[in-house]
């Protein structure tokens, strides 16, 4: 119930992608969703809505901060920005992820069996 978005992803993947995206530039929710979809070439089946609980979690952990502003298309948007703490967290998570990925890759590598 709590982690509906993680049915297709491993725990923390969505948060990591959000943080990575926000590292480049502050974005609001919709833009963030579009960016993640576009960059993953629609490979990841993410409900756009699932972004928001993840964002709330990041807000609570103070890894991102949010601010209401007016966008270039003249809409009232709430844009998210990475905090220093968030940047550090991202670094840590990415290195952890890479190690994990390396492990998985080795196990899955052909010829070893």
């Amino acid at each position: 119930m709590k982690n509906r978005e993680q049915r297709d992803l491993f725990p923390g993947a969505l948060e990591m992608m959000i943080l990575r995206t926000l590292k480049r530039q502050p974005l609001h929710g919709y833009a963030l969703a579009q960016h993640i979809k576009r960059t993953s070439n629609d490979l990841l089946q993410i409900e756009e809505g699932s972004l928001y609980p993840a964002l709330q979690r990041l807000l609570k952990e103070e890894l991102v901060k949010a601010e209401w502003s007016i966008s270039s298309t003249n809409r009232r948007v709430r844009s998210y920005k990475l905090t220093a703490k968030g940047a550090k967290h991202l670094e840590h998570e990415v290195s952890r992820f890479e190690k994990m990925l390396e492990g998985i890759t080795r196990v899955l590598a052909p010829g070893e069996l």
């Binding site: 119930m1 709590k2 509906r4 609001h28 929710g29 919709y30 969703a33 409900e47 756009e48 809505g49 699932s50 928001y52 609980p53 964002l55 709330q56 979690r57 807000l59 609570k60 949010a66 209401w68 298309t73 809409r75 009232r76 948007v77 709430r78």
Partner: protein, 898 residues
């Protein structure tokens, strides 16, 4: 602090989230519309891609929540709403549970206050009174001053904190204060100075005795108990240093002791003033008691007492033959004072536990039934994705809420019920030395018991529900003819348990009823109805000799006898109830009794001739005393049948002689101990039983001991303290003031005290029996009722569930009798198995109760039969009522039910 800020800014956070999501959807729609989609299609697509908006919002909010606390509040709110909605369920559940808790709290308070905290200080629980065991039995007032100093004078003890000595006496209190009051008879205790430090008590005002004050010829100082100080002196602190008079001798008040320091019946303490140099070992009139060391049981102190007795025997045995084979035996004062009440309290605590079990079982049954009634709701919630654990938690919250309400209600009820219930217990048991109030411990225990019950029985339906699948729950809400096997079994088991427990409690009550009837109808040998009694004690200062004492009573009896409404009046040294009978040594001239020193001991009562007429003890042979049996005439005595059978088993006692031995030996004869005297037996009366509150029910089985009656006119000097007994035509209580006036008319300084009807004194002796009877009776009623509710619930539930089926059966030609049988089949096995289980369990109870029973065997067949009939009948009634309803089902309606 950020969590606090968050707690208050949550509303804003939630608002932001909702707005953000709305903006997101709008932006999406606009983009799609820009891409050429119609607005309606775009809105659909946007929602599809977004997912479930409500879930998203909920999940987003959940991040910020204290999920646990929020859920709890939600469950509580829901629970309260449900309880308010199902008022009848709430009332039944809260009142049955509350009743059990109230009963538990009351009994626990009595137990804690009366037994665990017996005295003001913890030391009061460790007092052991020393008795001397001889061939004649255990006697307490047998210590001489040198013997006390021998025992108490050691430097160290293995098992004792120390010893103290006391002697009780009643004195006439008067004072020369500004506001003179009537002289009053009060109970004084002469105590060795160390009693206060041994008990660990400090005075609330003034000081206690100095060691120098406790010596022969020491100053006349007195310490008042809190009760006397409040009652007579209005709690005036200026009393310290003032002078009061005890038997017209001035005493200076030096201190006030705390309310609960009222040991040995004392209202005033004065120094014992023993002479350490004394070697008078024949004046034996002291009580000696020890405070045992912590954690030493009465059994564990025996070896050291044995050593002390041996020492005494070795040193003085040669000069004092009575020390031969000397044995000191400890008496646990707390146990002795509480007597049967202790066992009664255990039994009643057991009854409370039973009642608690029954009510719990019933509550559990109610909760399960309600859970089933809510099957539809639960099924729906499961379908909508509620987790079983979450549902179980909600049930748990509801039942804990219920039991918490019951716990508080029960405790409040218990606090209010404490006083009336305490009034049922005779004052002697818990009287002066204890302080009983609704204890905080009782509160804690009862409320936590309630919560425990809540948890246990909240879990039952919770488990039940979560074990069942979604479809069963949903189905249940739609059809009414589904027989639900699991729930039925649980409820049948619970009702069975209730039946069995109710059987045990009703059995207990039944045995108490039988005992009470036996005890009440027991032939006491006297008739306590319509007799008023009071005590008069003549001081030595104004009534110096036997002649003055005899004249006073002669005048008084004549005056009282001429009062209207008085049938007969007499004086007696001891009343037949509420007092211990004095014992007197005697021998039979020309015969050697089969004892160590050739004398024996029997009950001894000094009476005026009308005594037997007043208490209605019939004469068996010979004659009563007459006015002619006076000082000048030859000495006579009357004995009871038991005496005759014991000492003259083969012949008639009439005309035989007995010699009354001076208790202090043949040497000195004082006013209180007349010289040896040979008396001729002139009459034999029926045995009459001396009863008192200190007796256990067990002792009623003992045969009545031998007793000697002597005429007051021949023993007036021994009768300074006499009881007046008058048989009246109407309510004896009405005459109390008139008699008091009669006494004051004879002597204006003479107090009358302890005015009581003989009936009240006799009833007091039955205190614990009555208490057990009343409380067990109430519990039995409640248990029976509760068990019936349980049975009724089962039968009625199954009828409701099978309405449809019954309709079909009746439409197909089933007779009313068949339907009745069908329904009875649900209830009867429960009743029968419950009865058998209860029967077995009640054997255990009966063994426990046997010391409280009189004239009834613990497995009394008649009681078992009656109890079985009562339970079967009430059980059948509980099944019959819903069965009636089943018969009256209209087939058409039943079939249309769906």
């Amino acid at each position: 602090m950020s969590w606090l800020k968050r707690l208050f800014s949550r509303r804003r956070l939630y608002g932001d989230l909702s707005e953000e999501i709305r903006e997101h959807l709008e932006e999406k729609v606009e983009e799609l519309v820009a891409g050429g989609m119609s607005r309606k299609e775009a809105a659909h697509a946007a929602r599809r891609e977004f997912g479930n908006v409500t879930h998203t919002e909920e999940d987003g909010r959940a991040v910020w929540r204290w999920a646990w606390l929020d859920d709890l509040f939600m469950d509580l709110r829901y629970g309260v709403r449900l309880l308010l909605k199902n008022r009848s369920f709430t009332v039944v559940a809260v009142s049955t549970l509350g009743l059990g808790i109230a009963a538990a709290a009351v009994l626990f308070s009595i137990f804690v206050g009366g037994y665990i905290h017996f005295g003001e200080t913890e030391q009061a629980n460790r007092v052991a009174l020393l008795g001397q065991r001889s061939a004649r039995g255990l006697s307490l007032l047998r210590f001489s001053a040198p013997e006390y100093f021998d025992i108490a004078g050691l430097q160290r003890y293995r098992s004792f904190d120390g010893f103290f000595a006391i002697r009780g006496l009643s004195v006439t209190l008067s004072e020369n204060l500004a506001r003179p009051e009537n002289p009053e008879r009060v109970q004084a205790v002469r105590a060795s100075a160390n009693i206060f430090s041994l008990y660990g008590t400090s005075p609330i005002l003034g000081r206690t005795f100095e060691t120098e004050e406790d010596r022969p010829g020491g100053p006349n100082v007195a310490i008042l108990t809190h009760g006397l100080w409040k009652r007579r002196f209005g709690g005036d602190p200026a009393i310290i240093g003032m002078t009061i008079k005890l038997n017209d001798i001035p005493y200076t008040v030096i201190g006030i002791v705390p309310p609960r320091f009222k040991h040995w019946g004392a209202e005033i303490y004065i120094p014992l003033e023993l002479d350490p140099a004394s070697n008078n070992r024949s004046e034996r009139n002291l009580l000696v008691a020890a405070i045992t060391k912590k954690d030493f049981s009465v059994e564990q102190i025996k070896p050291e007492l044995e050593y002390l007795a041996h020492r005494e025997e070795a040193e003085y045995g040669a000069a004092h033959p009575e020390y031969a084979g000397l044995v000191y035996e400890p008496v646990d004062v707390r146990k002795a004072v509480l007597g049967d009440l202790r066992i009664a309290l255990y039994i009643l605590m057991g009854a409370v536990a039973m009642l608690a079990l029954i009510t719990s079982a019933n509550i559990a049954g109610l909760l399960v039934a309600r859970a089933i009634a809510r099957a539809g709701e639960i099924g729906t919630r499961l379908v909508l994705g509620a987790m079983p654990a979450r549902l179980a938690r909600q049930f748990l919250t509801e039942s804990i809420l219920l039991s918490a309400i019951a716990g508080v209600a029960g405790f409040v009820a218990g606090v209010f019920a404490l006083k009336p219930i305490l009034a049922l217990i005779p004052a002697h048991y818990i009287g002066s030395e204890t302080d009983i109030h609704a204890s905080p411990t009782a509160f804690l225990v009862s409320v936590s018991a309630a919560l425990l019950i809540g948890v246990l029985f909240g879990l039952a339906p919770a488990l039940f529900i979560s074990r069942r699948g979604v479809s069963t729950n949903l189905q249940q809400s739609r059809t009414r003819s589904v027989t639900d096997q699991g729930g039925g079994r649980i409820r049948a088991a619970l009702a069975l348990l209730e039946m069995a427990l109710a059987f045990v409690v009703v059995m207990g009550a039944g045995l108490m009823v039988r005992t009470y009837r036996q005890v009440v109808s027991m032939d006491l040998g006297f008739h306590p109805d319509h007799v008023l009694t009071m005590r008069v004690a003549l001081p030595e200062s104004r009534y110096s000799g036997g002649v003055e004492v005899a004249n006073f009573f002669r005048e008084l009896l004549r005056g009282v006898h001429s009062m209207p409404g008085v049938i007969d009046v007499s004086a007696s040294s001891t009343r037949p109830a509420g007092e211990g009978l004095a014992l007197h040594d005697f021998s039979i001239p020309g015969r050697t009794l089969n004892t160590a020193d050739g004398t024996a001991r029997a009950g001894y009562r000094i009476i005026t001739p009308e005594y037997f007429a007043v208490v209605r003890t019939p004469l068996q042979r010979g004659r009563f005393f007459t006015e002619q049996d006076s000082g000048g005439a030859s000495a006579v005595a009357i004995v009871n049948e038991s005496f005759e059978q014991t000492y003259f088993p083969d012949s008639n006692a009439i005309g035989k002689q007995i010699r009354l031995e001076n208790p202090n030996g043949t040497g000195t004869s004082t006013l209180e101990s007349p010289p040896n005297q040979v008396s001729q037996i002139v009459g034999v009366v029926r045995d009459s039983r001396q009863i008192g509150w200190w007796q256990g029910t067990r002792e009623l089985y003992n045969s009545i001991p031998p007793e000697i009656y002597v005429p007051f006119w021949q023993h007036p000097e021994a009768g300074r303290e006499m009881a007046l007994l008058l048989r009246t035509q109407a309510d004896p209580g009405n005459l109390a003031d008139a008699v008091r006036r009669e006494v004051l008319a004879l002597d204006g300084k003479q107090p009358v005290y302890d005015v009581q009807t003989l009936q009240a004194l006799a009833d007091n002796a039955l205190g614990p029996t009555r208490l057990c009877l009343v409380i067990l009776g109430v519990f039995a009623g409640v248990a029976l009722l509760t068990a019936c509710v349980g049975l009724y619930a089962i039968a009625s539930y199954s009828v409701t569930q099978r309405t449809h089926e019954i309709g079909i059966r009746m439409a197909l030609g089933a007779k009313q009798r068949d339907v009745l049988r069908l329904v009875a089949r649900e209830g009867m096995p429960v009743i029968v198995v419950g009865l058998v289980a209860g029967l077995l369990a009640s054997f255990g109870l009966a063994r426990l109760m046997s010391s409280l029973l009189y004239g009834v065997p613990p497995n009394d067949g008649a009681t078992l039969l009656v109890v079985s009939v009562i339970l079967t009948a009430t059980g059948m009634l509980a099944v019959y009522v819903p069965a009636r309803r089943a018969i009256s089902v209209d087939p058409m309606e039943a079939l249309r039910y769906e």
